[in-house]
Amino acid sequence: MAVVAAGVVSPLGIGLIKTLQSLRDSRDCVTPVTRFPVDQCRCKTAGQVDDEPLIAAAQLNGRQGRRLHRASHMMIAALREAWSQDPRFRPQLTVVGTTSGGMSFGEQYYRSLQGQATLRQAPAWIANYPPQKPVIDALAAFDLSTPCQVIANACASGTNAIGHAFECIRSGRYERVLTGGYDAISELVFVGFDSLQASTPEKCRPFDRQRTGMVLGEGAALLALEEMDAARRRGAHILAEITGYGISTDNHHLTQPNPSGVGPRTAMEEALRSASIEPEAVDYINAHGTATPFNDAAEGKAIGELFGKGVAVSSTKAMMGHSLGAAGAIEAVVCILSLQHDFLPANINFRGSDEGVVLDIVTNKARSAPVATALSNSFGFGGTNASIVMQKRPG
């Protein structure tokens, strides 16, 4: 399946060019949280998207811009970038992942009930709170009313959305699907991960032996997928190809993966089978790598067992935080850039591996290397595991 356009908004930057530069520079874009008070939380940092460039990128007028949620701004900005690359792309279906929709509007509504603010804006908050709203807003900004499937599979949502979009085209039912994910940071979710002690009071260090947890992030990314022959027939510019998708459900626990790594391993095996390739063909794995002790242990074990030390691995979440429903989509864009520009994005803040773990971690600095095939992992609460295989644009 051809990726004929892509747009991205993340703490690394707005747009593919800024994202590429940040990845090459291995920039740490995690900053102190400013949107809500975090003085009672252990973790006080996150990857955040600045409002000013976001509003400029979304190009909404003042009244409209104020009414919509930040998540809508992110989706509109991401779609605007993708649209600028291929204005002839007309999706027949939209499949997008998210975890929390316009959650901060729900928070404002609750606080206003408590007398902490006026309820005057309540109808607008309620109307703009639902998870499908930013998707419909983005489509409407380009005069589209394409059917929407909005997947909320926790942190795997973005990769699930891309994978399902891939399967929809592969089945022959659709030729063009717009897909991706979004999530905007909110107090409820931030405090939630903090309460679980899943987020860290210090640096996010994926796969490091002294890792202490994740930091949250936010953003949006959209990919325009098209059946390869159709894309070629109309002369579309092809950024990369998606060739495989795997999904599994691990019923071990609502928030913790099975320590055996069976869930991630099954998803990766399925993705390789779907792409008809062997593990040796994969040059780079963009890991889920949240830097929680449980996730990285299970994922590291699964990667080690399936790939050995023969593949470069990094988690880019240390640079931009974990953007939940957007993560899989943003990381798919990271893989596209890696495939296009032959480099391996860094796993920053890394000092040393777990005892007995043999992974080729891309330590702290991006590396130049030929990348023909990349695999991206996303795993989430509920035991949901998803992997996609992406390959360099066919010649």
């Binding site: 408590q114 419909i136 009313s145 997947i151 309460s195 099954t266």
Partner: protein, 375 residues
Amino acid sequence: MSLHIAGMGWVTPLGSSVPEVWGRLLRGEEAAVEIISDSVGQESHPVFRVPASALKDLPAHPRLRRASAISRFAAAAGIAALDDAGITISAPDAPRIALIFAISNGGVIYTKRFYRDIVAAGANTASPLLFPETVFNAPASHLAALLGLTGVSYTLVGDGAVGLLAMRMAEDLMRNDNFDYSLVVGAEEADWLLCDAYSKWRLTRSAPPIEPFHSPAKGMILSEGSGAILMARSGSVKIAMTHAGTSYTKRSRLGEASKKVLRELEAPLGAAVIASANGTFIDAAEASAVTDVMPGSAVYALKPALGESVGASTLWQVITGAQALRTGTLPPMLHMSSNLPFPPPKGDADTLPIRDAVVLGCGLNQQVAGLRLSI
């Protein structure tokens, strides 16, 4: 590819089995209203709740110990749909059953409690036990664990149309021979906060009944429960066509969006319409679409009897459509306007010469979907 309904499960304020709820609908019964209040606000709101007796047969499972009501409703309906089809899941078959979960507001009870603690006592008092249950896919995860499903599990979020979108997604999946079944489950739990939010949006009314197709619209009453449809390659009722859905950006455009969906479903003459009318602005749009595209059709709206269950609602409509085709009857539509824009149902469970039923799902938050059943 031809898909069918192989099993159904139903948890509603009128009971928890398809024969029981269907029987009560045919008798013209409606759910009893409960008035709820909350310390966070001054207003009270009416709601149709699922009675505790409806979940009496739910098996004990560690995953359900702390789970919210929505997960229990979903579990009961999901198990019932498999039982209805006589399906027992074995480990080798588990990946061949896809679970598609439709949800709108999700675990609102725990979400409110979790955030209430943050606001009232600070972030350092937030409960790590509650937070995971606030995540949209928690009910699907519990159901997958309960049933031993290990393959595809998607939670789809949306408005009242989401159940139909989930059935479409299941149909998309089942084009792949890797799947024998798709279990589609829609669920919702009612809470004061949800009622208050819809009230602030001027969509609810302060007391029953829900009056469908009334002009001016008088408002809806929320309810809760779940519906489950087991989709398979054989079964008693055929899913003749699903629609991928569409969206509308302004309420004034809902009528056109509904007409588009109805037109594209290509219903034959004489098909019945199971409408989503709930006493709000969607009724007029739906009535206009039906009179324009399917004039003369028998129309039945379920929500005056069971309330607006949002994420579960369109699957309830699908169950109703399937029952209408299986039994050749439609229940009497309650509290209908005297100036209905289409021929009123005869009002007394009469035998109908129907072979097709169209389910139309007009959501309150910009989504529209539909499907057509036949027998």
